[in-house]
């Protein structure tokens, strides 16, 4: 049976617009309770199950009932045909959605006020929010040692980057999230450091998951999850309460993904302050 194609509004990251308009066949990469990943011509696209979720730099959000209907018979490796009018999921039965309206959102990393007071405030709030304890580093001796080494020595070396890439558990290993936090901060602060080229080079030497690869690509292109935009804005406004709220939300993102990235932010601040 081919279920009736439902219709939905779509909120999408402007970063992936070219992929969404190219009429491509993709494959289901992974399926979660509230989202799924599609591999589309080597680019990962995250589909979130409601507009309540923060928009990912490589993602779209659709209406919850539409997501539910799609997910019902979905299996990894099944095919998806994406056009700018509709998405067809080749499941048994075929399901899909037509796009009512699509709104692209710019998720470029905003500039962060490099005033050290702002940055101190952020570091202070991060330290107060016990990020490390809920991160994927906490249970991982090698990552813990690396974290302490980086924060103690106040520098990130090429060898550290090599070791961090793909290190840890999950679809986005903790080391990758950590590095993405660092790269995000470097870009937000307009290159006080120069880790980005090192990371680009080391990514050639070391493998990580498809999902992490996609998020690296996005952050290297200056794109981050919507929640980081909120955090940076709160820091720029020195709104302590908003910073805390933002950190709390980020801590809950993914299994340890948000905390790992926050830990990268914290480490970066340690290095530069």
């Amino acid at each position: 049976m081919n279920k009736p194609i439902l219709a939905t509004d779509v909120k999408a990251s402007a970063y992936i617009k070219p992929f969404l308009e190219a009429e491509l066949m993709g494959k289901i990469h992974s399926v979660f309770d509230h989202g799924l990943n599609i591999l589309l011509n080597k680019q990962l696209i995250y589909v979130g199950d409601s507009f309540q979720q923060p928009l990912s730099s490589v993602g779209i959000l659709i209406e919850a009932n539409v997501f539910k209907s799609i997910k019902e018979n979905l299996e990894v490796n099944q095919l998806v045909k994406i056009t700018n009018q509709q998405w067809v999921f080749y499941t048994r039965p075929i399901v899909g959605f037509k796009i009512n309206t699509i709104k692209y959102h710019d998720l470029n990393i905003p500039k962060l006020d490099s005033n050290s007071k702002h940055l101190q405030l952020l570091l202070h709030r991060l330290e107060n929010n016990t990020i490390y304890e809920v991160s994927g580093f906490h249970e991982n001796q090698r990552l813990t040692e690396l974290f302490h080494k980086i924060t103690n020595e106040k520098k990130l070396e090429r060898a550290d980057i090599f070791l961090l890439i793909g290190s840890g558990i999950g679809l986005t290993p903790s080391g990758d999230d950590f590095l993405q936090g660092i790269i995000m901060m470097e870009q937000a602060l307009a290159k006080q450091t120069n880790y980005l080229p090192l990371l680009v080079e080391e990514l050639e030497n070391r493998n990580t998951t498809d999902i992490s690869q996609s998020y690296y690509k996005a952050v290297l292109a200056g794109q981050v999850n919507e929640q980081w935009l909120t955090l940076i804005q709160a820091v720029n406004e020195k709104d302590e309460k908003a910073i805390d709220e933002s950190i709390q939300r980020l801590k809950k993102y993914g299994h340890t993904s948000g905390a790992d990235t926050l830990l990268g932010v914290q480490a970066y601040l340690n290095i530069i302050l």
């Binding site: 049976m1 009429e23 099944q78 095919l79």
Partner: protein
């Protein structure tokens, strides 16, 4: 020495029996053996195998025949044990599975799934055309796995299908996917935007599995059957399928697979393909295309077909050449050796033959005796060809033929390379690699020991989602030393490389199409629905075909098929023709309405001559049970009763005198049924017998029957001693008049329906058990008897005492009731409802509404049951009596579930047997009579409307509860049991009615 065991009416699926035959041939002491249904075609196979016997000759198509060649009797027992074990294993698997609902006829299948859209048919070929037609009549698309349908039938059925907007996939359609749900012998393919139409089973399997490996997916794969592109069939299915895919929103690319079609058909197909809005990849196996044209990309190999399709499906540019070099390093060329291809897939064999013949310039490929190619020692064999599969399973299921061939080709010293296909997927062997392993390992080891250049190259047709383990299959083959290539084409190319030939594919440019285009018709609404809506399948035949449908989101009803009418082609034709005559159903409903609306009342008891004018004469007339009979055929019980009757009437002074008069023709015989009466057992009735008179108040129709005499030594069972005669005289002089007077006190007589409806809830079925009804009758009649003023107390007491002592008294009331009911219904002389079933001791006679008074007879069966001490089945007389009138109106054995207590008495096992009996009987009746509701049957009404068509179609013979008389005159009752009505009588009735209706039945 040949031993035959025939298991009557034990229908089993042919694939199971082939596997079972393999299993019994492995038993120690069995020279050879075969287990098959005893159809004519299978009898030929027995004959060809030197296993033909007289017992087999006599067996019917519904019988399971086991023939074993062995010198040891004990081995036969072992074989039968193995057969029972194997079949009970299957049935226990069936019982324990959470599989689909199973039915055994079309009506139940359609009731179970009224919105079914596809019939998947896998019945033996000779029956397939009829089942296909029935499916089409019921507006179902058909996927016919069955083969051996004549081309004339295929043309005719496809015309019917097209007329009705339906699609007939097949016959001989081995594989398919509808909405990515696997059907029949099929791999599990990832769903996707490619649609396939193919006239080749393994061709579809090879292309779709490679599509899956390449990351593509298939939404529909529609098999057309191998002859669809022949001139006579004219690509009906292919063109309909193409139109369906063209209009299927989610199909982006269409793949067409076929052997080279007839030229005119090919042009038509190409014109169509060139007129589509979607790109097409086409392969005509055996043709080497030089270019792509217009909308159609032409492929040379099945692998290339899949590669182009996936590129099109992904929106990629099509390469001019999909040639990828064979990377296997050939250490030593085998230019003086040959290639032997041992294929289970016909299309894969054809592909091998084509590629080998093209590369080595061996001329055209043949197709003779299973060889697709047999030139200069290069042999490509299709082991699925009829030559190899007569009476044995297909090589995708059974490895034996291939194992033999592997050894055989190894013995041929010219053999350098053996090519194999291992086909996985639903339907295929659960572990073909494991099954072939001993043979493969043995020849590879021998080659090593002999230092011989010998390689085995295989390709595995399968996906990682197939029920067999695809990856593990490849790994195990490689561990054995078999070289595994990723496609059949690559396996063949490697074989050729070993022969020193590396053919390259020519580049193909895309050139414009400059010929005619045609308008693509919209698909019919039904084809559109099939391709777009939930797949709902009635699976007729091989039960395992339900598994993938269930597993992948389809809905399915299992139809446990067995041949209609025992496989009798003439009867099948009649039944099918009658199925297409709704007026018969209308007539039957009219007859049944009459049976149901009847209002039988017991109104009187009178001497027979007062009720039956034919007896009101000085002529010596005897009424008897059953259809008309000749005196020379009279059996013991009837003869004994006749002698008794002659003595009772005072017409004969003793037994000898009576016998003489009977033999001299001084007595005329009339069947009870011809004079509005019925009689138990011998049914012997003469003018002074007191008879119960029933009036059907609906229109005044009457029915008469003599009174019950009790059990044991009684006239109706043939006893005729002085006590018997005395009892009859007492009934004539006392009981009859007393009951007559008592009944006269009721304004309208006694309402029999009321007694039956109460007693049926109290454990009576009114043939073998009447105790409740007799008691209820006694309850009604006793006050009336006691109120009589002109009857002596003694007579009252005797009468009441007799009724109280006679458990079966009501049986005769029920019989007269049955007669009054059926004679009212018989006034409608239309349709196939049975209006009479009766036996005269040597013939069983039936009458159907549509044939009025005409009898149809067959030799009567002997009852089975329990015998009184001192007697055995040897003593039992063949079935006799009009009492089957109770079964005719849905009581007696038919209503066994109402009287579970009876089942043990008649030799059955208990409640479940009673339930099974009535449930089985339900399949041959058309309705239930709510007036007679049976609590033990969940308050379902007793059955009503026994349909001769259903009896003939199912072969289910109505069951009759009966007493058993001694075969010698004068002895009486010796037991009780059950007997079945012979189906042959119903068959004759049906044939006669078909003639009356003017049906062409020859």
């Amino acid at each position: 020495m040949l031993h035959t065991v025939v298991q009557k009416n034990n229908y089993q699926d042919s694939i199971n029996l082939m596997l079972l035959s393999n299993s019994i041939n492995e038993l120690d002491g069995v020279v050879k053996g075969q287990v098959m249904m005893a159809t004519d075609a299978n009898k030929d196979i027995f004959k060809a195998g030197g296993l033909y016997t007289e017992e087999l000759e006599a067996a019917s198509p519904n019988d399971l025949a086991i023939v074993v060649d062995t010198d040891d009797e004990a081995v036969v027992e072992k074989v039968v044990e193995e057969v029972d074990r194997f079949l009970s294993d299957l049935s226990s698997k069936k019982e324990s599975s959470d599989g689909p609902q199973a039915v055994d006829n079309w009506k139940d299948a359609l009731d179970e799934m009224p919105d079914a859209n596809l019939a998947l048919i896998s019945v033996p070929g000779i029956y397939a055309a009829d089942e296909i037609e029935t499916a089409l009549d019921n507006n179902l698309h058909v996927f016919s796995f069955s083969d051996n349908v004549t081309v004339e039938d295929e043309v005719r059925l496809k015309a019917i299908a097209r007329e009705k907007g339906l699609m007939l996939m097949g016959p001989d359609c081995g594989t398919g996917l509808i909405s990515s749900i696997p059907l029949a012998f099929t791999n599990v393919i990832n769903p996707g935007n490619i649609g396939v139409v193919g006239a080749s089973g393994t061709g579809i399997q090879e292309v779709t599995t490679i599509i899956d490996h390449l990351g593509g997916g298939v939404v529909h794969a529609i098999g057309t059957g191998g002859r669809d592109l022949s001139e006579s069939v004219d690509a009906v299915t292919m063109l309909d399928a193409i139109s369906g895919l063209e209009h299927h929103e989610f199909t982006d690319v269409i793949v067409v697979i076929s052997k080279p079609p007839a030229e005119a058909v090919k042009n038509k197909v190409i014109e169509t393909l060139q007129s589509l809005s979607k790109p097409v990849v086409a392969i005509f196996l055996g043709e080497k295309p030089m270019e792509h044209i217009g909308n159609v990309y032409f492929a040379y190999t099945l692998e290339e077909t899949a590669q182009i399709a996936v590129d099109l499906a992904n929106g990629n540019e099509i390469k001019a050449n999909y040639y990828e070099p064979i990377t296997y390093e050939v250490e030593k060329l085998m230019t003086d050796k040959t290639v032997k291809g041992l294929y289970s897939g016909g299309t894969l064999a054809s592909e091998a033959a084509t590629l080998v013949a093209d590369a080595l310039d061996l001329g055209d490929i043949q197709n003779e005796d299973g060889y697709i190619l047999n030139e200069k020692g290069f042999e490509i064999v299709d082991l699925g060809d009829d030559v190899y599969t007569q009476g044995r399973p297909h090589p995708m299921i059974d490895p034996d033929v291939r194992i033999e061939k592997i050894h055989e080709v190894y013995e041929d010293e010219t053999t350098g390379v053996v090519l194999l296909d291992i086909v996985l997927g639903y339907g295929a062997h659960a572990d073909m690699v494991g099954a072939l392993e001993p043979a493969l390992t043995e020849v590879l080891n021998k080659a090593k020991e002999d230092a011989r250049d010998f390689k085995i190259i295989a390709s595995v047709v399968g996906t990682t989602n197939d029920p067999q383990n695809y990856t593990d299959s490849i790994k195990r083959l490689e561990e054995m030393g078999v070289i595994v290539e990723s496609s059949n084409a690559r396996a063949i190319r490697l074989a050729l490389k070993m022969m020193g030939v590396e053919p390259e594919l020519n580049n193909k440019e895309l050139v414009a199409y400059d010929k005619e285009r045609v308008d693509i018709q919209e698909p019919s609404e039904k084809v559109f629905e099939l391709l777009n809506e939930q797949l709902k399948v009635i699976n007729i035949g091989i039960e395992s075909f339900t598994e993938p449908i269930n597993n992948f989101g389809g809905e399915v009803v299992q139809f446990d098929w067995r041949p209609k009418a025992g496989g009798n082609q003439k009867l099948i034709k009649i039944l099918n023709a009658m199925d297409r005559m709704p007026e018969i159903d209308v007539a039957n409903e009219k007859v049944v309405a009459r049976l149901k609306e009847s209002q039988p009342h017991l109104i009187d008891v009178k001497p027979a001559y007062e009720l039956i004018p034919e007896l009101n004469t000085d002529e010596k007339i005897i009424l008897h049970a059953g259809p008309p009979m000749e005196f020379e055929n009279v059996t013991g019980p009837a003869l004994g009763a006749m002698i008794g009757a002659l003595k009772f009437e005072g017409w004969a002074k003793d037994d000898e005198d009576a016998q003489r008069q009977l033999e001299n023709g001084e007595v005329r015989f009339i069947p009870c049924h011809h004079v509005g009466a019925v009689g138990p057992m011998g049914g012997i009735t003469t003018k002074n017998f007191p008879m119960l008179a029933i009036e059907n108040k609906t229109d005044g129709t009457t029915g008469y029957c003599i009174m019950n005499e009790g059990i044991g030594t009684v006239l109706r069972f043939g006893a005729n001693g002085p006590d018997v005669i005395r009892r009859l005289e007492w009934q004539r002089d006392v009981l009859g008049p007393v009951l007559s007077k008592a009944l006269a006190t009721f304004e309208e007589g006694l309402n029999v329906n009321s007694i039956i409806s109460q007693a049926i809830t109290m454990g009576d079925e009114f043939h073998q058990r009447n105790i409740a009804a007799s008691a209820l009758f006694l309850r009604e009649i006793s006050p009336a008897i006691t109120s009589l003023t002109d009857v002596s107390d003694n007579e009252k007491q005797e009468s009441i005492q007799f009724l109280a002592d006679t458990d079966q008294f009501f049986l005769n009331i029920a019989m007269a009731t049955g007669k009054a009911i059926v004679d009212y219904a018989r006034k409608i002389e239309e349709g196939t409802i049975i209006t009479t079933m009766s036996r005269n001791g040597y013939e069983f006679g039936v009458r159907i509404a549509g044939m009025g008074d005409e009898w149809f007879t067959a030799p009567v069966n002997t009852p089975k049951g329990l015998y009184f001490t001192g007697y055995t089945e040897e003593d039992g007389n063949p079935d006799i009596g009009d009492s089957a009138i109770t079964e005719t109106i849905g009581l007696g054995g038919v209503a066994m579930i109402a009287a579970p207590g009876v089942t043990r008495f008649v030799g059955s096992g208990g409640f479940q047997d009673a339930l099974d009996t009535s449930n089985r009987m339900e399949k041959i009746f058309i309705d239930n009579n709510s007036t007679w509701s049976i609590p033990t049957w969940d308050f379902k009404g007793a059955l009503i409307g026994l349909d001769a068509r259903k009896v003939v179609e199912t072969g289910i013979e109505p069951i009759i509860n009966t007493g058993i008389a001694h075969k010698k005159a004068g002895v009486g009752q010796v037991g009780a049991g059950t007997v079945t009505a012979p189906v042959q009588a119903f068959e004759k009735a049906l044939v006669a009615y078909a003639k009356k209706l003017g049906l062409d039945i020859e």
